[in-house]
């Protein structure tokens, strides 16, 4: 893999150039809560020691809420107007390895057979500039789902902090290579030995479970008290799904409608909500919180894997860090692992 060096100053110039060249650069905010559109070099927060932001950046490719059609009623003849989707050149700057693969993972469900253009128009052509992660708390478990704090998987370009002022810039994909081409002037020749040494010193979170073992156990233990035990604690707020970089369930509802006009929206939804699967008849196939929690775990560690050959989890730990009642997904899955 080709490797260059970019100084912090040059990173600022580079980002300024990107913005000038009509790229939409998305970076983590300084309060470590959210991701936002960067308007200038002053907004750049690329720090390998940062905690993963409270919320992932998935909303930039999978909007929290967005219109899928507008309608107008003209004397009982309906005109359907499609929302304009401007082609955006998105650049995600400073994605930790637990974020970098999120678009790739979600892309599978948005593209099997039917293709969701609302996702694709944003996701296709987006560039991920990842950064090695040197943060770790008890909720981190990327190594349990096939990632690591130092993996370049999912990134087109990957930053490794060399010292206070310099990053190594690894050119991971062909797309990344093409993308960086016009900005060569900000790069100087790298020394792979140094970045390798730095990466080797980063401590991995402890591996808590084997996904293959967990998946197999889930196949054979659809009915198990562990789900009800967690379900009894869960308040069904859906925070876990909204904070997750790869949860992708949504609702379709008509909003702001009256007789003459309105819009149909696609909104984030969560499998932990009681109404999520409620039938019109009153029957609910997942009528208890335990069954809904089982869905959450099984979707992530079995169904998505069966269907798309991906674990629907990046080990970022956001769901656990933000859980108002202290449910730790890694703890639950580690317990499953110990049962298997």
């Amino acid at each position: 893999m080709e490797e260059k060096i970019i100084s912090l100053d040059n990173l600022s110039f580079f980002v300024n150039d990107l913005i000038k060249d009509n790229h939409i650069v998305i970076g983590q905010d300084s309060k470590e809560i959210n991701w936002k559109r960067i308007t200038g070099a002053k907004d750049i927060v690329v720090n390998s020691k940062n905690i993963p932001s409270n919320i992932s950046y998935k909303e930039f490719v999978f909007a929290k809420t967005e219109p899928i059609i507008y309608y107008k009623n003209k004397k009982d003849e309906f005109d359907i107007v499609e929302p304009a989707l401007p082609r955006q050149k998105l650049v995600f700057l400073g994605a930790k390895p637990c974020d970098a693969r999120s678009i790739e993972i979600m892309s599978k469900v948005f593209n099997w057979d039917y293709k969701d253009k609302f996702f694709n128009e944003r996701a296709e052509g987006s560039i991920v500039i990842g950064v090695a992660c040197n943060y770790q708390d008890k909720f981190c478990f990327c190594t349990s789902v096939g990632l690591s704090p130092v993996t370049e998987k999912g990134s087109d370009l990957f930053l490794v902090p060399l010292d206070e002022k310099n990053f190594a810039l690894q050119i991971v994909t062909e797309r990344g290579k093409e993308f960086i081409q016009p900005y060569q002037k900000y790069l100087s020749d790298g020394n792979q030995a140094k970045s390798k040494e730095i990466l080797s010193k980063i401590k991995n979170p402890e591996k808590r479970f084997e996904t293959s073992k967990v998946s197999e156990w889930l196949t054979n233990n659809f009915e198990h008290k562990i789900f009800d035990n967690v379900g009894d604690i869960c308040v069904g707020c859906g925070q876990c799904a909204f904070a997750c970089p790869v949860c992708h369930c949504f609702d379709i509802v008509d909003e702001e409608c009256d007789y003459s006009s309105g819009r149909r929206m696609k909104n984030w939804d969560a499998c932990q909500f009681g109404l999520f699967t409620l039938h019109g008849s009153g029957h609910n196939p997942r009528e208890t919180q335990g069954k809904r929690y089982r869905q959450r775990i099984a979707h992530k560690f079995k169904y998505y894997q069966d269907k798309f050959d991906e674990v629907l989890c990046t080990g970022c730990g956001r769901c656990s860090r933000g859980c108002p009642v202290g449910i730790d997904i890694a703890e639950v899955v580690a317990e499953i692992n110990s049962l298997a």
Partner: protein, 279 residues
């Protein structure tokens, strides 16, 4: 890769409405756009998303046969927001439609075999689709038996067609109501569907059974069919779950790793048995 908007409905016009029961209606719908009407095709068992602007969309099967391609029909019970809005519509009004979605009944493989249709309540809607498909190609199939039941006479849907099927000599039609659900001049059977199946079902040899209805009916009918010798592969049913997209994206209709909207709604009992009990 991006292409068209998969959530955009096609506009259809209601050309006929039948009040099936006090709370159930059947709409006949035609595409407003002629080229859509020409290019549209579907197979028996597939479903669609039917929408009323300002209220939302609901999922129903296409209840008419693909052999009658100039229109589609859907039957629905007034139960929530969208179906209440649909109920208010009149002939000439517009309905949004997305589809056809999902898999379908193996009509081609059923050719040359006997077919027994078993339905309960509004579960006759998806079965009606494949019944007419079969009857419109009558010579391709051997013996055809229809067994239909509802809680009461008033809950029987497609009454006009039930009469037509009963009068036909080339099929056997048995209609039943639950005990207590009959009316004074009732000339059909009285009893629950599984019991009637046991009494009148054809022999299992070279026969396919299509079973749709409330879960409780399916639960008690399948053991009867098995007792009669039907193989699990020859018992075919449909699952339904709440859906929003119908396209395998929104994430709510799955039963285990199976999306009802894409891998279903049609399943053989052999396939259903493999699924976790979550439907």
């Amino acid at each position: 890769m991006s292409g068209s908007n998969i959530y955009k409905p096609e506009m259809m016009e209601i050309t006929d409405i039948v009040q099936e029961t006090s709370d159930t209606k059947t709409f006949r719908l035609k595409f407003k756009n002629e080229s859509t009407a020409k290019s549209f095709s579907f197979k028996a068992g597939q479903f669609g998303e039917y929408g009323v602007f300002g209220e939302g969309e609901s999922t129903f099967c296409i209840a008419s046969s693909p052999t009658r391609s100039e229109y589609i029909e859907c039957s629905f019970k007034q139960i929530g927001k969208v179906t209440t809005a649909l109920t208010r519509l009149r002939v000439g009004d517009s309905v949004g439609f997305r589809g056809p979605y999902g898999n379908y009944f193996p009509v081609e493989e059923m050719k040359g075999k006997n077919v027994v249709f078993i339905a309960g309540g509004i579960g006759l809607a998806p079965v009606r689709c494949v019944i007419w498909n079969t009857l419109d190609l009558r010579n391709d199939f051997k013996d055809v038996t229809i067994i239909y039941g509802a809680r009461s006479f008033n809950d029987l849907v497609y009454k006009r067609e039930l009469k037509e099927w009963k009068e036909r000599k080339d099929i056997k039609t048995v209609v039943t109501v639950d005990p207590g659900g009959e009316v004074p001049d009732w000339d059909g059977e009285i009893g629950f569907v599984p019991a009637i199946v046991e009494k009148v079902a054809p022999k299992a040899e070279n026969t396919v059974a299509i079973v749709c209805g409330p879960p409780i009916m399916i639960k008690f009918t399948i053991p009867v069919l098995q007792k009669l010798g039907f193989a699990e592969e020859n018992i075919i049913t449909t699952l339904e779950n709440r859906m929003k997209c119908g396209l395998g994206k929104c994430g709510r209709c799955n039963v285990g790793n199976v999306y009802v909207c894409k891998d279903g709604p049609v399943f053989t009992y052999a396939q259903m048995k493999e699924l976790p009990q979550e439907y």
